[in-house]
Symmetry: D2
Subunit: 295 residues, 4 copies
């Protein structure tokens, strides 16, 4: 099996490594000359045996658009493009249609696992035609962890289903992190009572109802910095969490925990909260309550 | 009518003024010699004609407890104590029982109106026996705004009902303020589009669905400081909002908007959020996402 | 002043009435022959003196699109189209551009007031060029309540600002209603303590911090049906609330109270909650907790 | 090692089994003659070698109070009582003081693991004096899963710390379940797109960021009933989740995800929502929007 990868950032480069370690031949292309195997997508296409298999692993949005456009002009009938990036699932319909006009196949794959995937393997959610998915199965099997295939891979549905599943996965991920984070604050704020916050989280790793991989990572972080003193409570969001809420709205699904998680991140990035200024101003107006003066 | 007031803070002193303006004789006691009319509660009791009517307007909790205890020892059978402070309604059962043992009557009254009450009048919610409430009606009529009695006064139920109603009122108040505050932030963050935030709020004062007194106060605050630049987004909570959530929990009432309001205040007072540190740490662990380093 | 109105549903017909009562000449068009003044938009355009002023008051989305398209083909240079419907503000940019190509002017106006507007007047938020807004001012003055203009009208900014302001207004409205609704449930569930729920709300109408027009409407509803026994707890949402959350997400504004309001509506419309099925299933799996069997 | 257990319900009986399987001698007492080893606590105390070790595993609140009271009268100086039930941590201070007066030792232990603990082992969080905890260590080692002790056991702090940690654990548990449940609803409502909901969850078991034990249980539940058709979305809460929110309020910790989880359960148990009736009534009042009539 010989596959091309476009995009060798943190995720793409790791995936190339894992695929090679599992015996798959990989030709990678990236604009960054330090990591790329070839100097252009033209050269990439040249290097791959037909019918080709190209895995796209670039930032979602306009960059993915451009890569798909470029591939639609370079690839041939019967080739297969796999978008393994974090595209919004609605983009898949557009990309599939564009490629289909040229007879090029398309499937979408959500990939989970972060920087640990290179050693542990990745969880994979695929959308598209069953024949194309079968065709890419050796790649999926190389990327995913050891163990039964259905515990780390799913053919979730037609085009878009893979990215939709990944989007939901990320919404869950946001809420799971918020859950542990709220628990962390509850333990940390009672340091008069709880003398070993790290040890408490660590004791949950086996036997408890809340055991999970994220819990293990939180223990790891706390072992490195027990009061998280070196880290600011400033949290980015990648945009995918927002899509999850938008899709929940579109389908009338109540997602209070997921939205709580994303709103907490928004607040974390505000130097001062306009909304809380307004509340402070209101309390001052009706109750004469003192406000904290800004400098 | 001659009434005693214990507690001449911001609220108590204002209420004394309003009562006097309405023709009620008031003897007030406060530990602060600059505002008090008499030098002790003994003197206060002395000054009032029997059967006496004493309005308690001191901070809830141990201070109210002490005042009620003191009155239970000084007052006589047939006297009436009105707790107009912000006591938790569960305290009323205790206070009523303590006084009842001495034949002293008790009613609880929730008072709303803030610093504006002295001129506008106060909204009043009373709990207790109908005879005692009738007895205090001239005081209620003097305190409340002009207009039909039932638009600013309610006999909500037996002992505790007044403070329970006031507690719910405050929970609503928290959520209303949060509603306007979220709207404020949505307008303020789009200053590329919305050129007149103050004017937008002001235009809602007549005709719209969202018109209210709090809206008018927000307009007033914005007219004084259009970007609320002098105010920090730091908001205290008086404790009553917490009781509202606790009672909601006790009665299995979902209160997501009220709790959102109180949690937003908690966050506003944190210099850094332990929970968000934990989320940042987790993202760093699984995704290698950069964290913002604390100084 | 002579104005055309397209769309004579509940809102449009009421506005025609109010305008006529205020001395404005109105020619209205609606597909419904029972309410329309003319039989076609062609006839409407014919009936209006140039330069024309046409107020569009039809459902947002494809219907508004079609009306604007139609007007772009029928109106002349110098005419003015006002979209007073509930269009998403992002639509305004598109509509303005389409009309501008023909030299036709455009402004967007958010209108609040519901069925009461015909008698009370409407709150109005306008976006667009100041000259066009001045031109329509006699119409705005006729529509809005008596009192200072700036308490019921704002020129909020350029094109789109009127609808953006109205969208935020609606988000606030959702959260305000949720606030009172949570308070209602807290009072209603303690009917052992609170003997007069309607009276309690009514007593908040004067003097209190929570007084508002929505409160008055809730009192009215409770006076008609004190236990709301005739009404199911089933609440639609018009879509505008969702836009508000989407815009909040786009601008990283935390809106926990607004989103709580919309999620509560989503839940209210579910016959059974898939999410709660999943929680029940989980509790059964780990704890052996009984589930309630579906029929 | 010979230990007594009071309370042989689902959890207590399972723990007796596990302890015996691990070579600990156990005498159990329960009011239910079918499961008890002895006929009274007197007999239990008799059966145990001094200094005795008694594990209390009964429902929290008045039943635990009564058992501790009984033990305080039957045990002797130097004996040790372990409350392994789900008592609120504030109860521990009271229980410890009561026993200490008689020279009886006390530690509190939070136990997690559900019905699976008997085979997998339990996660344990202990509070109290280090000497007493060391003394009970053979019991803890028998109860907890294989693997490093600190991955399933923690000495979290002094008296109360074990139950506080367990309470936080349960708050996290609530929010984790809510997270997966929201994701489930998002997948289930798009069955036009997602053709294999069970398979999607199953594919997350290895490699993904969201893998956890609760996820595995959800997969198990879905494999048994892929649409959860046999289960109603009706979810009890044990009361511990409420304590978590109450403690969060007491310590000013924002817990929006935990509270979302508990409010969702409250709603799930309401036949109709009073709050949503109020919102429907309001919409009808201001906008003339139709309400759904109750039967």
């Amino acid at each position: 099996m010989h596959i091309g990868i476009i995009g060798l950032g943190k995720m793409g480069a790791n995936m190339r490594d894992r695929l090679r370690n599992q015996g798959i031949t990989v030709t990678g292309y990236d604009r960054n000359p330090e990591v790329t195997d070839v100097t252009s997508t033209a050269e990439l296409v040249e290097a791959l045996p037909a019918p080709r298999l190209v895995w796209v692993m670039v930032p979602s949005g306009s960059i993915t658009d451009a890569v798909i456009q470029d591939l639609s002009e370079r690839l041939e009938t019967g080739d297969l493009v796999i978008d393994g990036g974090n595209s919004r699932f609605t983009e898949d319909f557009k990309h599939a249609a564009l490629l289909q006009d040229k007879g090029i196949n398309y499937i979408d794959v959500g990939v989970s696992g972060g920087v640990w995937g290179v050693q542990n393997g990745y969880g994979l959610m695929a959308g598209g035609n069953v024949d194309q998915i079968e065709r890419a199965m050796p790649v999926f099997d190389a990327l995913r962890p050891e163990g039964p295939r259905d515990e780390s891979f799913v053919h979730a549905g037609e085009i878009g289903a893979g990215h939709y599943a990944k989007m939901v996965h990320n919404g869950i991920e946001y809420a799971l992190m918020q859950a542990y984070a709220e628990g962390y604050e509850m333990l940390a704020k009672r340091d008069d009572l709880i003398k070993d916050v790290t040890g408490t989280f660590k004791s949950w790793q086996r036997g408890t109802v809340v055991r999970s991989w994220l819990l293990e990572l939180l223990v790891k972080a706390l072992e490195e910095d027990p009061e998280l003193a070196s880290i600011e409570g400033f949290v980015e969001d990648s945009g995918e969490g927002r899509w999850t809420i938008e899709e929940a709205l579109a389908n009338a699904v109540p997602v209070p925990a997921m939205s709580a998680a994303i709103f907490a991140r928004f607040v974390s990035r505000e130097e001062d909260s306009p909304a809380m200024k307004a509340v402070a101003a209101l309390r001052n107006q009706f109750g004469g309550h003192a406000v904290k003066k800004a400098d």
